[in-house]
Symmetry: C2
Subunit: 135 residues, 2 copies
């Protein structure tokens, strides 16, 4: 039984590693948000960089603190609807800290009884160094 | 103790679901390959479609059965080297079944004592319907 527990532990560790690598290796900024409470469950480095905060600040924080739509707090429902109806659809939102516009597309899925949204933040313009950074 | 085991089981299930969603929601064809034995550990739907085989045929099969470089069997070592040296580098390979060229980039990571490669298959040309499919 001890051996079986150790095998389970190893398998869990390996799965965690693969999950983390998949999240971080994706060049798109990704957020996983719980529909039950609207909080950010996980996110990758591209997302923390785009939002302009630390991972510690963002984990567990309400997604609506960081992203805003036309009417506050309703965008998660709108995203879930987009995700359900049109896998290629997206919602235009604004990053609160930087006022930058992002096109957010989402995949809705169930895990452990909660509905989760995997959100991709699409940036229209490629980030470029500012003129005063160059010369 | 029973309750703790059930919690562990739930957590493992949730992690598996998130892992699977991340793998499948990525539009890029992705393969996870073991460096220890060269076999395909996992892959997403975009990769099965591009390779032109079923998931069952590909899971556990040697990656070198499906992808070929200039010299057979050495491309995994070459990929691991690319992954280690240059995160944006890629290796030109050919899909064996379709003879299609792909630029493969990779992320090397360790899990459960094995070294794994997360490989992204980049297709230069976008797939288009053939003329005789149109009309």
């Amino acid at each position: 039984a001890q051996l079986a527990l150790e095998r389970d532990y190893e398998a869990q560790r390996e799965l965690e590693t693969r999950y983390r690598v998949l999240l971080e290796a994706n060049p798109a900024p990704l957020l996983i948000v719980s529909l039950a409470n609207g909080r950010i469950v996980d996110l990758n480095g591209a997302a923390t960089a785009l939002i302009g905060a630390t991972r510690a600040e963002l984990l567990g924080a309400p997604a609506s603190n960081e992203l805003e739509g036309r009417r506050r707090g309703e965008f998660l429902e709108a995203l879930a609807k987009v995700a359900g109806n049109d896998p290629l659809g997206s919602l235009d939102l604004t990053i609160r800290r930087s006022k930058r516009k992002v096109a957010v597309s989402a995949t809705l899925f169930r895990a452990a009884g909660d509905r989760l949204l995997l959100c991709r933040l699409g940036v229209a313009e490629v980030a470029r160094p500012r003129a005063d950074d160059i010369g």
